[in-house]
């Protein structure tokens, strides 16, 4: 074990080297580019024995990996934003073929407006792609969740690809001390890849991804549903084993000072650390607040969310994507569904904030908590999403003379 200063991108590349990926196909895109560059450097300097395929797009990158993984090797790539969107079609091929590909995704908003910066719309747009989605909150978690993701994805009960999501810049480019395990320790935790399902072998031919008639399609989708249900069991198993090997403990959700909380904010990704910092500050002022962080968004651990919030009188959810056209953002929609399934009439307030790189600063999260405490004190709970950090001039941004061209 060695303590290194790494950012999230560096941690992802280290994890893929430690996992001994054998084929890499990646297309650089801000803010993921340093992952593609580091993997290329590892291959060039011989510290990672892998074939690095230079591809002309993310669609090709994922297509190459699907072919490579089918030959029985562990593969690696990473992407972000419009790169993930360009992969959309082939993401479904990877998950439908039950290929256990693990892919770091650096969260960046989708166009338009053009932005290089963080929000969750890119991965939220792929939440039904048949991939497991884990959200890391810092660089250490990027390394750890990526390593354990291989074990979960490759488990014969799961056989589902995994995105390890990290917030662009706030995790990908933020450097912090990271405990990097030795190769031998990782080898003990993560044995060499052996295909458990489909594989390509010239001596034992298969025809994969063939046209599937209505007579079988539903059943094959159902197989994937069973895989996701199994993942809810396998993820905690592997996380426990990871803790035994490396001493760091993870779970599907993480609760922070929720015991006697009057209001809890549900978070995803790097805002969780800032949220804990705010909880500590508010607790020091005598405010009973807590935080529930979702680590696994797909599969969504509804039982665990219900259990964590069972005695909380007011719940808020901070979505880092707009969820356009829905009453609230995508994470809030899940939390509301989970709680209402049990018939609870607790107010669940949907906040939207931190879009396109806007910082979810301590004061922004503190504003969300104070709104929740107002509701606890009797203020009406809004049904629709509350844009916590929108400017007052949102509809008067670009003034032009009236009458021009109209």
């Amino acid at each position: 074990m060695v303590r290194k200063l790494l950012d999230g991108n560096g941690a992802a590349a280290e994890a893929m080297r430690l996992a001994r990926v054998q084929v890499i196909a990646a297309y650089p895109i801000t803010p993921q580019s340093p992952i593609a560059e580091k993997l290329s450097q590892f291959v060039a300097d011989g510290t990672l024995k892998a074939k690095y395929l230079r591809v002309e797009s993310e669609h090709s990158a994922m297509s190459c990996l699907i072919g490579a993984q089918l030959t029985g090797v562990r593969t690696g790539t990473a992407t972000s934003s419009v790169g993930l969107a360009l992969m959309h079609e082939v993401l479904g091929v990877a998950s439908g073929l039950r290929l256990p590909i693990v892919m770091p995704v650096v969260n960046r908003s989708l166009v338009s407006p053009w932005s290089l910066w963080c929000d969750h719309q890119d991965t939220m747009a792929e939440r039904d792609s048949g991939w497991i989605q884990l959200y890391a909150a810092d660089a250490q978690e990027v390394l750890d969740l990526t390593l354990l993701a291989y074990r979960v994805a490759e488990d014969p009960r799961v056989l589902t690809p995994i995105m390890v999501c990290m917030d662009g810049f706030f995790v990908s480019h933020t450097s912090q001390p990271v405990e990097v395990p030795d190769q031998e320790a990782v080898d003990r935790f993560l044995p060499p890849y052996r295909p458990q399902n489909l594989y390509l072998d010239v001596d034992d031919p298969m025809f994969v991804n063939d046209l599937t008639p209505p007579a079988d399609f539903t059943e094959m989708r159902y197989q994937q549903k069973v895989g996701f249900e199994a993942a809810l069991e396998v993820l905690p198993e592997v996380m426990d084993e990871f803790a035994r090997h490396f001493g760091r403990r993870y779970d599907l959700v993480e609760t922070y000072r929720c015991e006697d909380a009057e209001a809890v904010l549900v978070t995803l990704g790097s805002m969780s650390g800032t949220g804990k910092y705010v909880v500590d500050q508010l607790r020091a002022q005598g405010q009973k607040v807590g935080l529930l962080r979702v680590v696994s968004f797909r599969p969504f651990p509804a039982d665990r969310v219900r259990a964590a919030l069972s005695r909380v009188p007011v719940v808020g959810v901070m979505d880092r994507s707009a969820g356009l056209g829905a009453e609230v953002g995508p994470v809030c929609t899940e939390v509301r569904a989970a709680l209402s399934a049990e018939g609870r009439q607790v107010p669940v307030v949907g906040f939207v904030g931190g879009l396109g790189g806007r910082d979810l600063a301590p004061k922004t999260l503190a504003a969300a908590f104070s709104r929740l405490l107002e509701i606890r004190a009797g203020a009406p709970a809004p049904r629709t999403s509350q844009w916590i950090d929108v400017r007052a001039d949102a509809l008067q941004l670009r003034e032009v003379p009236a009458g021009v061209r109209h």
Partner: protein, 106 residues
């Protein structure tokens, strides 16, 4: 917070003859004034220049103007846009364009 949102949601009901565009659009083109990028500025020795026109033909921004028939009129570079790339100085056959550091950033 909800009051803030209410204010945002109110259309501007003003009588001013303006309207507002939605979406990503620039109506002020400050970002196109690429002269702010410049670290070195081209300075032309007007007396030595024979007005061959090569610098103007090579200029990627097409911002060098000259009167090829009247050498009494100076060759000019539009410094609002000149990025200081130095191509003009590099291609000048007489070597009469110098790239001079901008003040304050030398």
């Amino acid at each position: 917070m909800s009051r803030l949102q209410d204010r945002v949601m109110q259309q501007s009901g003003s009588s001013k003859p303006v309207r507002y565009l939605y979406g990503p659009v620039a109506t002020v083109f400050a970002a196109t004034q690429t002269g702010t990028w410049r670290i070195h500025r081209p300075v032309i020795n007007q007396a030595a220049c024979n007005r061959c026109g090569k610098c103007a033909r090579f200029c990627p921004l097409d911002i060098i103007t000259m009167d090829r028939k009247d050498r009494s009129r100076d060759v000019t570079v539009d410094l609002t846009y000149c990025k200081g790339c130095g191509i003009c100085a590099a291609v000048c056959p007489l070597g009469c364009i110098a790239m001079v550091p901008e003040g304050g950033e030398g």
